[in-house]
């Protein structure tokens, strides 16, 4: 005992309040450190990190087409991040964006596949609505059980992702199978009439995404509904006490959260894939959780973070052609960078103190 008391040890101490300037400094430092860590990984593989980072940047911006592709990467990520941010604001851990995207896409695809003779804009509007409703309903299921029985939503929404995924494989292998695909299970390509038009070379999903940024921002910050979401998120008992219908708030918010993700699915199917593929969500729903968390649920922050993510995604896709590095390089790099940012968040709220004997 006495021996131990003389050895210094490290303690974690909470910091009362950091100024926003310090917080920003730490975040920037975290980002730089994260890039450095990614650089070390590149060095270990025998590449020059500056060259590789340069390639990533130029890969994302080098041409009009490259930039358009970057934006195309960003649209689903941005939109679904906005969706989950609404749920997260309410401390409802919706990790089911993936499933909500899929169900939205499925519902929209129904009209794209079987009513493609409708007038173009009517069809798109109906598909849009179908996507929103589909995603919304898929979000409503866990919300219903959460509000009624307090069912764990993290795990429930996770299950719903896989159920949704298998709905697509069912449709692909069975009722919606493309008869012209000579036995290969896939769903037919949407008719041109059911495809989203392009504006400045990218399907107009980007306009919808930007509008959503503003709408979600206003909704969360300035409306009664947004206020209710914050209060419910902070404390359900306080919300009830203030006369809020907590169940309704949860249901409503999850319809919106899922709805936005559903729209994402519709836009992804009709704007990018031009068909209903099982990869319509393709992990975006999971990345969205990370994006909205990194952005502190601020819609404009989400815009920035999802843009950075898509630069990384798009830029890394040229790694293969340029350096023969597999496409998985991007996820590894993403992982390393995120680990560092996650770790650095700690220093905004805490610090380590080396304490010697007697506390001095």
């Amino acid at each position: 005992m006495n021996n131990r008391s003389h050895t210094p040890f490290i303690r974690t101490v909470k910091i009362s309040e950091r100024s926003s300037k310090d917080t920003l400094k730490i975040r920037i430092a975290a980002f730089v450190l994260a890039l450095a860590a990614g650089g070390i990984f590149m060095l270990l593989l025998g590449y020059n990190p500056f060259e590789l980072y340069g390639t990533i940047i130029s890969g994302a911006f080098r041409s009009k087409m490259a930039f358009q592709a970057t934006v195309k990467f960003m649209i689903p990520l941005l939109m679904s991040s906005l969706g989950v941010a609404m749920a997260f604001k309410m401390r409802f851990w919706n990790i089911g964006a993936e499933g909500q995207i899929i169900v939205g896409a499925v519902c929209a695809s129904y009209f794209a596949l079987f009513h493609n003779n409708w007038p173009h804009f009517l069809l798109l509007i109906v598909m849009f609505a179908a996507g929103a409703i589909g995603g919304g309903l898929w979000g409503l299921i866990p919300a219903y059980f959460k509000s009624k029985y307090d069912t764990n939503e993290t795990l429930f929404t996770l299950m719903l992702n896989y159920i949704a995924l298998h709905i697509i494989t069912y449709l692909r292998d069975g009722p919606w199978k493309d008869p012209d695909s000579s036995g290969f299970p896939k769903i037919a390509r949407f008719a041109a009439n059911a495809q989203i038009d392009k504006v400045f070379g990218v399907h107009f999903g980007w306009i919808i995404a930007l509008i959503l940024v503003i709408i979600v921002f206003i909704y969360l910050k300035y409306t009664k509904h947004g206020y209710e979401i914050s209060v419910v998120g902070e404390s359900k008992s306080t919300a009830k006490y203030a006369g809020m219908d907590v169940k309704r708030v949860i249901l409503r918010t999850m319809i919106l959260s899922g709805g936005i993700c559903g729209i994402t699915g519709m836009i992804q199917a009709a704007g990018s894939d031009m068909t209903l593929a099982s990869s319509v969500a393709g992990g975006v729903g999971f990345t969205a959780i990370i994006v909205s968390w990194l952005a502190y649920l601020n819609p404009f922050g989400i815009l920035l973070v999802s843009f950075l993510f898509s630069i990384l995604d798009k830029g890394s896709s040229v790694m293969q052609s340029a350096y023969g590095l597999s496409t998985y390089f991007a996820s590894v790099l993403q992982g390393i960078i995120l680990f560092f940012i996650l770790g650095c968040e700690f220093f905004i709220r805490y610090k380590f103190v080396l304490t010697k004997k007697g506390g001095k």
């Binding site: 910091i15 009362s16 009664k224 209060v231 404390s235 306080t238 006369g243 506390g359």
Partner: protein, 509 residues
């Protein structure tokens, strides 16, 4: 005896701060074996922090600790236990889904003991100290005093020689307190050193040998209990002579505003929340509610406020039954409820939000449209800061950052500003220092004089006796009786809290 050569504990120059707040400053304190030391101080004076340092939860910034004359460094609870220090926390540290014996052996050294052998061991030990314990019972099935018994047992099982009890009496009836004191005296006779944290003077005088008085994080004095009295201790604790009398203004023209008839409420898990409650609340009176924690106080508040459904019975507000109305409608009728829970922020205020947003909580629905108008609530927040002299950097500081007293002023201030006819307030002085508490009592009396009907749910019997006009006592969700606060005694209320029904006693007319 060898142990008499040294102090059990000696603290020298202990200092601990949290951010900018200095919780303990240059504290010197010592205690011998076979002695009960009372640590007296107001809420927020740093008693718990100091004891948490001893038990290894916090680590002091400066200072040294000697146990049995040897300098030690307690960096975690594990080391504290090894040194024979056992702490019984105010908020029990028990695992709800474990049985009492699993909680007792938790973290102890040695091999796993078969449950049958362990059961016997626990029973033997409990007999030795006169504790009543059911080894197999799960914590979530226990009453507060049963939980406390498990906590004490836990400490004894670890062979603690130095016991620290943090506000052990705040949840007990007077009779249970007496029982606890008997156990403590027994332990003292067996040579243990005992530190008891409290802010209740008569308990200090009843149990302790010496008293150390803390004020604003410093030890202001240490006195022998025998040579002291309530007046001296109060002055030391507060720092100036103070009249501890709470006024009870007389009001006229009282008429029944709220009538509760045969009210029964079931909890979510099916247990009885309230069972067949009947009482009247009149304008211009303070009706106190006494009872051991968890006797139905929360259920009563929440049912009247529309947060819980009643199984049977009615709550008549000016002859209109409000059961079945939404919380919203009830707020609009002029019934205000403010409940200060144990964490002090859980209900009524949103900690991360600023004062402006908190003012909005009950009124945001009033303005039309989807967008929120914050101007009126900003004005209200500024008025409140002025009127109640709330100390805050500004209306945009999250209320979580304010001190306890200021938080409660914000809460009660908002409720009073809505000009209610019925004011239900539960534990409004929870965790406050004496000064702040008296400001709250004055606020309540002011409302009483304005003919507001007040239902006051309190913890401290002394306060209830002085502030209320009548006191109703709850036990296991049942009404034990309603007594005239001027005529009753603490003992009578204590017996009622423990479940003795006063048939036909209702001082109402």
């Amino acid at each position: 005896m060898k142990t008499n050569d040294y102090y059990a504990i000696e603290l020298k120059g202990i200092t601990k701060s949290f951010g900018k707040v200095i919780a303990n400053e240059d504290i010197n304190l010592e205690i011998k074996y076979g002695e009960i030391l009372a640590l007296l101080g107001e809420n927020g004076s740093g008693k718990t922090t100091l004891m948490n340092i001893l038990s290894g939860i916090y680590y002091a910034d400066e200072g040294t600790i000697f146990i049995d004359g040897k300098e030690v460094s307690i960096t975690n609870p594990h080391e504290a236990i090894d040194l024979g220090i056992g702490m019984i926390h105010q908020h029990f540290k028990l695992v709800e889904v474990f049985s009492s014996m699993d909680n007792i052996v938790l973290g102890t050294k040695g091999k796993y003991v078969k449950s049958s052998a362990l059961k016997e061991e626990v029973l033997n030990m409990s007999n030795k100290f006169g504790l009543e314990i059911v080894p197999d019972k799960k914590i979530y099935d226990m009453s507060v005093s049963e939980k406390q018994t498990v906590e004490i047992m836990k400490v004894l099982y670890r062979g603690a020689k130095i016991l620290i009890l943090d506000e052990p009496t705040s949840v007990l009836t007077p009779q249970e307190i007496e029982k606890l004191f008997i156990i403590l005296r027994k332990m003292k006779e067996q040579g243990n050193a005992i530190i008891i944290i409290t802010h209740k003077l008569h308990e200090v005088l009843a149990i302790s040998d010496r008293v150390a008085i803390l004020r604003k994080g410093k030890v202001v004095d240490t006195v022998n209990t025998k040579e002291s009295n309530e007046k001296q201790l109060t002055e030391l604790m507060v720092g100036r002579p103070i009249n501890l009398k709470i006024s009870r203004p007389e009001t006229k023209k009282r008429k029944t505003v709220l009538k509760v008839v045969d009210l029964s409420v079931a909890n979510e898990d099916g247990t009885i929340g309230l069972n067949n409650i009947n009482f009247k609340l009149k304008s211009g009176e303070i009706l106190g509610v006494a009872g051991v924690a968890g006797s139905g106080q929360r259920e009563l508040c929440e049912t009247i406020a529309g947060l819980m459904d009643a199984k049977t019975g009615a709550v008549l507000y000016n002859k209109e039954n409000i059961i079945g109305k939404t919380p919203d409608e009830i707020i609009n009728l002029g019934i205000s409820m403010s409940f200060v829970p144990e964490d002090r922020l859980g209900m009524g205020l949103v900690g991360s939000m600023d004062m402006v947003d908190n003012m909005l909580l009950k009124s945001y629905k009033k303005n039309k449209g989807a967008i929120i108008d914050k101007k009126p609530s900003r004005k209200l927040a500024e008025e409140l800061i002025d009127k109640l002299s709330i100390t805050t950097p500004g209306v945009e500081t999250p209320v979580r950052m304010l001190s306890g007293g200021n938080v409660q002023k914000v809460l009660l201030g908002r409720e009073i500003e809505s000009e209610p006819n019925v004011l239900i307030t539960a534990y409004p002085v929870r965790g406050l220092d004496i000064n702040s508490s008296y400001i709250i009592y004055d606020l309540l009396n002011e409302q009483k004089k304005k003919n507001v009907a007040i239902l006051f749910i309190g913890e401290d019997l002394d306060v209830l006796l002085e502030l209320s006009d009548r006191i109703m006592v709850l036990c296991h969700g049942e009404l034990m009786g309603i007594v005239d606060a001027k005529k009753t005694t603490k003992e009578e209320i204590g017996l009622m809290m423990a479940g003795r029904k006063m048939e036909g006693v209702d001082s109402d007319e």
